[in-house]
């Protein structure tokens, strides 16, 4: 296997986030090339490359762009989903901190392709310095003539607004993001109609993840074939893997889709001293957990799906044998209950009650019947909630009971949690 740094190639430079730093490494060359192309040719290029949305769902990016009606006389919008909030997911924030310009260049090219003259970067509010870097990058790109009126003499105009959110995980759901960007509570919209025809202000809108848009300049420079030379049959290209948890060297790793967790652990130093992997998420807390039996599953959309989970955001949260799975699942469920927008009953009520039951189980006061009720509640949320947040809330619970039912039972028979929370901390050695 080979690592393939593209997005992260310049992150080692202390000025990687500046216009000079980006330009020194070929920044904005792709925009020049793209503006000389026909917008439809750019859409075809991204379609042929096989790029799939890096925000979790894996929908083909070029196909999304192709759904935008052309010549309809309406304004078109590009909205970048920079609301990275899925527990475990930590790739877009370091990307925007280290190189906001690659996103800005991607925004310019993508907006030109879908014939949008207005783009928004909706960034979560809880990252002050990332907001600063984005604001500066956009301002510098205007000054350099990469944004604004008649970009590089092409006759193409584009305005970009950096918009800070205000703390709501649900706004990562694309239609909730649109409502939020319009100044409403961030609650998802009924689909259809889809944003491609009725998006921001009821106009055709493309919503893409940061990493997806940031991958576009490289595709323009390298071509579809080059991009597709990386990855697996249906999961093409380079991507960021985020390794975290009880590992010796957590961090970002850029490689082709289809690497395995075993490869990443072997090369990065493995789990922390004297401990073994117990469970992990392939792509954030909404993707069912996996175990050490899944270390060799290729991390692409198809193989992780076949293993009973989802690739999601490649947020590889690794927990070792000191971790109580009941505690982990309770905490994730508390998160979903807090973040449920309240629009639909299964999610709003279901997540609330699941927290009550899990808290009882963790405290050692649960029963076998509680486990049955939990699974029944999950069954009543999955597929019945208004959006994917509800579905995601069931993933940790059903998968944890599937792989670690004995541990739930152990909490009942032992009248409490058998784990020492101190042992699972990173400062365990220092405090023991």
């Amino acid at each position: 296997m080979t690592f393939t740094p593209v997005l992260s190639a310049g992150w080692g430079d202390s000025d990687s986030f500046t216009l000079d730093g980006y330009t020194r490494r070929g920044g904005y060359d792709a925009l020049t090339k793209a503006l000389a192309m026909d917008p439809d040719a750019l859409i075809s290029l991204v379609k042929e490359s096989g790029l799939r949305g890096r925000g979790g769902a894996g929908f083909p990016t070029g196909m999304k762009w192709g759904f935008i009606p052309q010549g309809d006389g309406k304004p078109h919008y590009l909205v970048v989903n920079a609301d990275e909030s899925e527990p475990g997911t930590c790739k877009d924030i370091p990307l925007m901190l280290a190189n906001p310009h690659v996103l800005v260049e991607g925004v310019a090219i993508s907006s030109y392709a879908i014939r949008a003259n207005h783009a928004f970067i909706y960034v979560r509010g809880e990252v002050t310095h990332v907001v600063r870097r984005l604001q500066q990058a956009v301002a510098d790109a205007y000054d350099a003539g990469h944004l604004g009126k008649n970009i590089a003499g092409s006759g193409y105009d584009l305005d970009v607004v950096v918009h800070a959110g205000a703390g709501a995980y649900i706004c990562g759901e694309e239609t909730a993001l649109l409502d939020s960007l319009e100044g409403y509570r961030g609650q998802p919209r009924l689909r259809p109609p889809f944003p491609a025809t009725h998006g921001l202000y009821g106009a055709p809108t493309v919503i893409n993840n940061v990493e997806s848009i940031a991958s576009v300049p490289a595709i323009v420079l390298g071509g579809a074939e080059w991009f597709a030379s990386m990855g697996t049959e249906k999961s093409k290209g380079f991507t960021l893997y985020s390794l975290s948890g009880h590992v010796r060297n957590p961090g970002q790793f850029e490689g082709p889709l289809g690497l395995t967790l075993r490869q990443l652990l072997d090369l990065s130093g493995g789990m922390r001293e004297g401990r073994t992997l117990k469970f992990w998420t392939p792509g954030g807390s909404s993707t069912p957990i996996l175990t050490d039996a899944h270390l060799d599953v290729p991390l692409d959309y198809e193989a992780v799906g076949a293993a009973g989970s989802m690739l999601g955001t490649k947020a590889l949260q690794c927990f070792d044998d000191t971790t109580c799975v009941v505690r982990a699942v309770l905490r994730w469920t508390e998160f979903y209950a807090h973040e449920s927008c309240g629009k639909c009953t299964p999610c709003r009520e279901g997540t609330y009650w699941m927290v009550q039951i899990l808290a009882r189980l963790e405290a050692g006061d649960g029963t076998e019947e509680d486990l049955a009720t939990l699974l029944d509640t999950c069954d009543n949320i999955l597929g019945r909630a208004f959006c994917a947040l509800g579905d995601g809330a069931t993933s940790p619970i059903t998968s944890a009971i599937q792989y670690f039912r004995d541990e739930f039972v152990q909490h009942m028979t032992g009248k409490g949690c058998p784990f020492d929370p101190v042992a699972s901390t990173v400062f365990a050695a220092a405090s023991s």
């Binding site: 500066q136 918009h163 205000a166 319009e182 905490r331």
Partner: protein
């Protein structure tokens, strides 16, 4: 306190958007930059400028976790207690800070310097356990380092963020940035923390690169300097 200047700045925010109501979230950040929370006066101002009822503005303000119903401390401290940070030490850090400061979740010290809350995942899991102050990153914290951090905040000389500006701004200054009024500090601080570079360094050690572009150049490589290019 909200002034005519605040109202003028609210109008500047409105002018950024094709439709006025899109300005509501940044306007609420602007209100917090003046009052430290979403004050009744702030709700009135937003309603007046956008032609909404106060109930409509309040309905939005109460939906989002970052909008506060009472004033934040000068330094607003958030401890991540989502699963991964909690397990790696976030729970212990939060307990330690509650004990040390004598306040609980969503409370503020009597002197108004520090407010505390437990927060959800802040997208820095490879730096766990994570503490945020005024939404600047304080990575790889321990109970001891977190106590020192809040002591510095209370004494008015907080340590610099791990990945952020070269010194910590106040809650109100931070909210002004989120409202879309840059403070000119984007060039301060590191470009990346060590974990962000782990994979890149490993690739470099192994001699790994992405496949070359069709023109033979390596993606993301430095371009030859202009003189060298001319010489060729």
């Amino acid at each position: 306190m909200l002034t005519d200047k605040t109202r003028e700045e609210a109008r500047q925010i409105i002018a950024r958007y094709p439709k006025a109501r899109s300005a509501l979230l940044p306007m609420l950040h602007l209100v917090q930059s003046e009052d430290g929370y979403v004050s009744p006066e702030g709700i009135t101002l937003c309603a007046e400028e956008l032609g909404l009822t106060k109930a409509e503005v309040g309905a939005v303000a109460t939906f989002y976790t970052m909008y506060r119903r009472k004033p934040a401390g000068t330094y607003h401290v958030g401890v991540c207690t989502n699963t991964l940070c909690a397990v790696l030490g976030g729970d212990a850090i939060l307990d330690s800070l509650k004990d040390h400061l004598g306040i609980g979740h969503n409370e503020t010290t009597d002197d108004g310097t520090v407010s505390l809350e437990h927060i959800e995942c802040n997208a820095a899991c490879d730096f766990a356990p994570v503490v945020m102050v005024n939404w600047e990153f304080y990575d790889n914290q321990t109970p001891t380092s977190a106590r020192e951090l809040v002591d510095g905040c209370r004494a008015g000389n907080p340590p610099a963020p791990t990945r952020g500006a070269s010194s910590l701004c106040t809650f109100k200054q931070m909210e002004r940035v989120l409202a879309g009024f840059p403070d000119g500090r984007a060039n301060e601080g590191v470009q990346a923390g060590p974990p962000s570079l782990v994979g890149l360094k490993l690739a470099q050690q192994r001699g790994d690169t992405a496949p070359a572009y069709p023109d033979g150049t390596t993606p993301g490589a430095e371009k030859p300097k202009q003189q060298e290019a001319d010489a060729q």
